[in-house]
């Protein structure tokens, strides 16, 4: 069956796979943002010994290979690993963790740069207004929201596109941890290249659609509050 037929016929399994992909990647993006954005802002606004080294490491971690991240999380969550008690290896939670670890540094590093640039522009104004430290961070994050949204999309795109990490920690279990990218890898390995390409196009379309929606929201918000 071709991918087109699968979509047109509203194949329930395909929708389940697409749904799981979105849940895993959106959750991972959410958790990576909740940790990465304040962390990036904090680094942008504070001076401490080793700061430059930390920034270099953080920027470098934007290029973490998904397979290495997956392996690290795998060893952590394995029953024989330090967090084995949780028993969440080969579950969607493990996949969320792996993807969050993968894109956390991307979100933190880009946020750091954006906030640092914005801080240079806002510094005098915010200090003159007597803003507390936390209010400064909140104000900068809010005023950088359009740039931060692009950062989120970059993180989301990276997580949605990766296969190495979720394959290792999810196990590509049919109906449970199988997502778009692992399905594509599986169909490729089975020699179903046409189906794999079709699913790839579905994945690309979904990522495009989400970006288009984000763009529309941004346009609307910018007209009303920019």
């Amino acid at each position: 069956m071709s991918a087109l037929e699968l979509i047109v016929s509203g194949d329930a399994r395909l929708f389940a796979i697409v749904g799981l992909s979105l849940i895993v990647t959106l959750s991972a993006t959410f958790f990576a943002a909740v940790i990465g954005m304040p962390l990036g802002a904090l680094i942008a606004l504070t001076r401490f010994p080793g700061r430059n080294a930390l920034i270099v490491i953080l920027n470098g971690c934007m290029g973490l290979p998904p397979v290495v991240v997956g392996l690290g999380v795998f060893l952590l969550l394995s029953r024989s690993g330090p967090l084995g008690e949780l028993g969440i290896l080969f579950t969607p939670q493990a996949m969320i963790i792996a993807q969050a670890v993968l894109i956390g540094p991307i979100i933190a590093a880009l946020t750091r740069q954006v906030i640092e640039d914005l801080w240079a522009e806002y510094r005098d104004e915010l200090v003159a207004m007597d803003l507390s430290r936390t209010s400064r961070v909140a104000t900068l994050l809010w005023d950088a929201r359009f740039s931060l949204m692009t950062i989120l999309l970059a993180g989301f795109g990276r997580a949605a596109a990766e296969v190495g990490a979720v394959m290792i920690v999810g196990g590509n279990i049919d109906g449970f941890t199988r997502v778009m990218t692992t399905t594509i890898a599986l169909e490729t390995s089975k020699g179903n290249l046409a189906l794999a390409i079709g699913l790839g196009l579905v994945l690309i379309s979904i990522i495009l659609l989400i970006n288009a929606m984000a763009w529309a929201v941004r346009g609307w918000a910018e007209r009303h509050a920019g």
Binding site: L26, I173, T188
Partner: protein, 275 residues
């Protein structure tokens, strides 16, 4: 700004929705091989098992070496693989409870239609491999410690050759699954050892065909083992044993027998008689 708490709540809801109720969750994890998975066998027999027992079987398809390692780490409840020596060692080392023979299929030597080694139609795998070596024809090896890989290495040994050790240019280890190995062989017009199940269900045959088949040495026995609960206390021994009991039962064996692609039976159950 006022949207944010709502968004946060929504995401948290989504996040927790994916948490399975692990306490009363009636499922087991089976570490198995890519060849079993890629052949579609699990897709055929597992729904029957689930219908009878209500137990979800989550299959992780890996190479045999990795699947046994997954069991050794305690990350699976059952291993279902095909490398007898490794399986017996797994049990002997105390990681598995008992090995049950389940079924067999056979390996076939696949090669390009042009047949540069001139071995098409052969019945003797040793003769075939020697010819590939003599003609230095491209040969794709899984190179991933899978059951198929170790079977391949044993066959080279039977032919008194050691390309994995001497690494001649025509011997290419790709470190990937069966389907990928077949794709690679098709692309570089090389020979490759495949299990028959994956070969039959492999859709991208291109210019490949069977070169050698039918040799007794190409026999491929599958075994199933419960991971030892005394090593890993969380192993679901009742559910896992229930799966093993079903697979080797008359009903499970019949299900295996019934699985066909294009009218060809892929696996031959032999729980009672096999090794």
């Amino acid at each position: 700004m006022r949207l944010r708490p709502i968004l946060i709540a929504a995401f948290l809801a989504i996040g927790t929705a994916t948490l399975p109720a692990s306490a009363q969750d009636k499922s087991i994890v089976v570490a198995s091989t890519t060849s079993t998975q890629d052949s579609g066998l699990f897709g055929f027999i597992l729904p029957k098992f689930k219908a009878k027992t209500g137990i979800d079987v989550k299959v992780i398809a890996q190479g045999t070496g990795q699947a046994l390692d997954t069991g050794r780490r305690g990350d699976a409840d059952v291993v279902f693989v095909h490398a007898k020596a490794q399986e017996e060692k797994f049990v002997a080392d105390g990681f598995g409870v008992k090995r049950y023979p389940v079924m067999y299929n056979d390996f076939v030597l696949i090669g390009p239609k042009a047949d540069p080694a001139g071995i098409k139609g052969g019945k003797d795998i040793v003769v075939g491999l020697k010819a590939i070596n003599d003609k230095a024809s491209p040969f794709v090896s899984r190179g991933d410690k899978s059951g198929t890989h170790s079977a391949e290495l044993n066959l080279w040994k039977a032919a008194s050759l050691d390309p994995a050790g001497t690494k001649p240019g025509w011997y290419r280890e790709i470190g990937q699954g069966m389907g990928a190995a077949l794709n690679t062989a098709g692309a570089m017009l090389g020979y490759v050892l495949s299990d028959r199940g994956t070969w039959i269900s492999f859709k991208n045959k291109g210019d490949l065909q069977i070169a050698v088949e039918g040799d007794k040495r190409l026999f491929n026995q599958y075994g199933i083992i419960l991971v030892n609960p005394t090593k890993h206390a969380h192993v679901k021994k009742e559910l896992g044993q229930a799966f093993i009991d079903w697979v080797v039962s008359g009903e499970g064996q019949q299900a295996i027998r019934d699985y066909k692609i294009d009218g060809q039976q892929l696996f031959f159950p032999n729980a009672g008689t096999g090794s």
